[in-house]
Amino acid sequence: MGNLTESNVITGVPGSERFVQDFEKGVLQSTLKISVSQLNFYYGPRQVLFDVSLNIADRKITALIGPSGCGKSTFLRTLNRLHETIHGTRMEGEVLLDGQNILELDVVRVRRRVGMVFQKSNPFPKSIFENVAYGLKINKMGGRGLIQEIVEKSLHRAALWEEVKDHIHKSAYSLSGGQQQRLCIARALAVDPEVLLLDEPCSALDPIATAKIEDLLMDLASTCTIVIVTHNMQQAARVADHTGFFLLGKLIEFNKTDIIFKNPARKETEDYITGRFG
């Protein structure tokens, strides 16, 4: 974990003095968790990410916004090498996790350290308990007693324990949509990831369930680095410390959240957040 020094300052609009200064004031105390540099990404012959460089601060919430199809999900997947499961993809550039190139790390370890929650909640057709215990069992972490303990702790962390404690051996499909999504968060948390990636986790949820998850994310940020893709700009404004704006596969602007929303440096960003397109 390197400090944000001159050499690896969080990228923004090249040449924007104001950006660098503001940014450094905000996050110099913070350390760097993930550093992405010059990332290009291709589905077969088609390039969908162009020269994306972005630094993600440790134990902060980083939001990624932008119109759909601009490559946010694709970007997120490169952070835990999930893109490798899709046939015919190619990635150029570098993703460093705590300063180490994730391509040089063991892929299973990368995915354990960098957890993921998907847009549509996707619990396994198993019990609530088995869902949360899954990652532990797959990674052979802990015996019976320990698993029991971690499952409970993870459900607590995902603010779901009180609602399910009396029936954790029931099917995960018996839960409501919002509960299922929190279950997926608990499942991701069980293996104690250092980073949690969330791809539009609230897009299928009602406002109350959404609010619960937002509260949860803000609590989690004290122990975990969070990267969230969201369609909902109010959500980014509410929860995120930093926000990046993607457009057509490029990172247009990246800065502290209130600067992005109140005083963006680029016209495209302003157009997007004021709803002029997207």
Binding site: N80, L82, T85, H87, V108, R109, R111, R112, G115, M116, F118, K120, N122, P123, F124, P125, K126, S127, Y134, G135, K137, I138, N139, H169, K170, S171, Y173, S174, C184, R187, A188, V191
Partner: protein, 320 residues
């Protein structure tokens, strides 16, 4: 007639046909059932008696002198060959399904799947002929002696290996016929599992193989059970292929996996000709009783499997 009534009618027709067939078998074989008693199931001798002797009367039925009908060897042969076929075909079918669904680039996938489905459409007599010409010499002269030599310590694997016609060969050929059935059905179920499930597992650090074992296979277990039931039905009732490779044993029980056997379905075909020589008709009625027993076994196996699915479903439901 609207569509619902039409389909209801078709469904009733299906039930009706089964009832009519079983009822016919029961009525037609009734004199044999009365004559043979329980000994039919538990005796091990099928003897048409003296074909040119004068019929005698036993229990009010006319039969040939010396005639005796007991089919234990058929029941054993049928059940064992089906069991062996399943023991081979289920793991192979699961493996093939996983390979077809998960283990290859998409363009190869659809081609190979097509071939597997084609395999399911091959008439059984073709399998039989192939077994007869190609498989039996190989098994009888090479594989079986080899197996008896090196695995003879396993019960029923040792002893004389015969010529290649027998229980294991029948199980083998049956397995070949039902593997495509299991593989094609399970493959479809695996392919239709949501990609999100796979991703969830992979994102938690599961390898491809672990994803299959811990998520995809459990999620498709009911399909596997269902297709295995269908396959069992097919194996129990298979006639031609088994007839050609089983060795057509008469009146003796297998002592190891290489022993010649007969199955009920193939026995009916192979014996019909001689049975028709019986002027009392009792031999044909007894063959009908064989068919009746086969029907009952099939229905029982199906029922048992349904029960299994039902309880499995209930377990899920209580989890749900």
């Amino acid at each position: 007639m609207n569509f619902r009534r039409f389909t209801a009618l078709l469904a009733c027709l299906g039930v009706g046909i089964i009832v009519v067939i079983v009822a016919f078998l029961a009525v037609y074989s009734w004199p044999a059932v009365r004559l043979n008693g329980w000994g039919f199931l538990f005796d091990n001798s099928w003897d048409l008696g003296q074909l040119y002797g004068n019929p005698i009367t036993v229990h009010g039925q006319q039969i040939l002198p010396g005639a005796h009908y007991g089919i234990l060897f058929l029941i054993v042969g049928t059940l064992l060959s089906t069991l062996i076929a399943l023991a081979i075909a289920v793991p192979v079918g699961v493996g093939a399904a996983l390979f077809l669904a998960e283990g290859m680039p998409p363009f190869l996938r659809s081609w190979l799947s097509f071939f597997v489905e084609l395999l399911a459409a091959v008439p059984s007599v073709v399998f039989g002929l192939w077994g007869y010409v190609v498989v039996i010499p190989f098994l009888g002269q090479r594989l079986f002696p080899f197996m008896a030599k090196w695995f003879g310590f396993i019960p029923f694997f040792g002893g004389s290996t015969g010529s290649g016609y027998g229980l294991l060969t029948a199980g083998f050929v049956l397995a070949l016929m039902i593997v495509p059935l299991i593989a094609a059905t399970l493959r479809d179920a695996l392919v239709s599992q949501p990609a999100a499930l796979r991703e969830a597992a992979v994102a938690l650090g599961a390898s491809r193989f672990e994803t299959m074992r811990t998520v995809l296979l459990p999620a498709t277990r009911r399909v596997l059970i269902g297709s295995s039931i269908l396959a069992t039905g097919r194996a129990l009732g298979e006639t031609m292929a088994v007839l050609m490779v089983s060795g057509n044993a008469l009146n003796y029980l297998p002592h190891n996996i290489y022993t010649p056997i007969s199955t009920m379905a193939s026995f009916i075909v192979s014996q019909l000709d001689s049975a028709l020589q019986d002027p009392t008709g009792m031999a044909v009625r007894s063959l009908a009783e064989v068919a009746l027993v086969l029907c009952m076994i099939s229905i029982a196996v199906n029922g048992l499997a349904r029960l299994l699915l039902y309880y499995e479903g209930r377990q899920r439901a209580s989890v749900a």
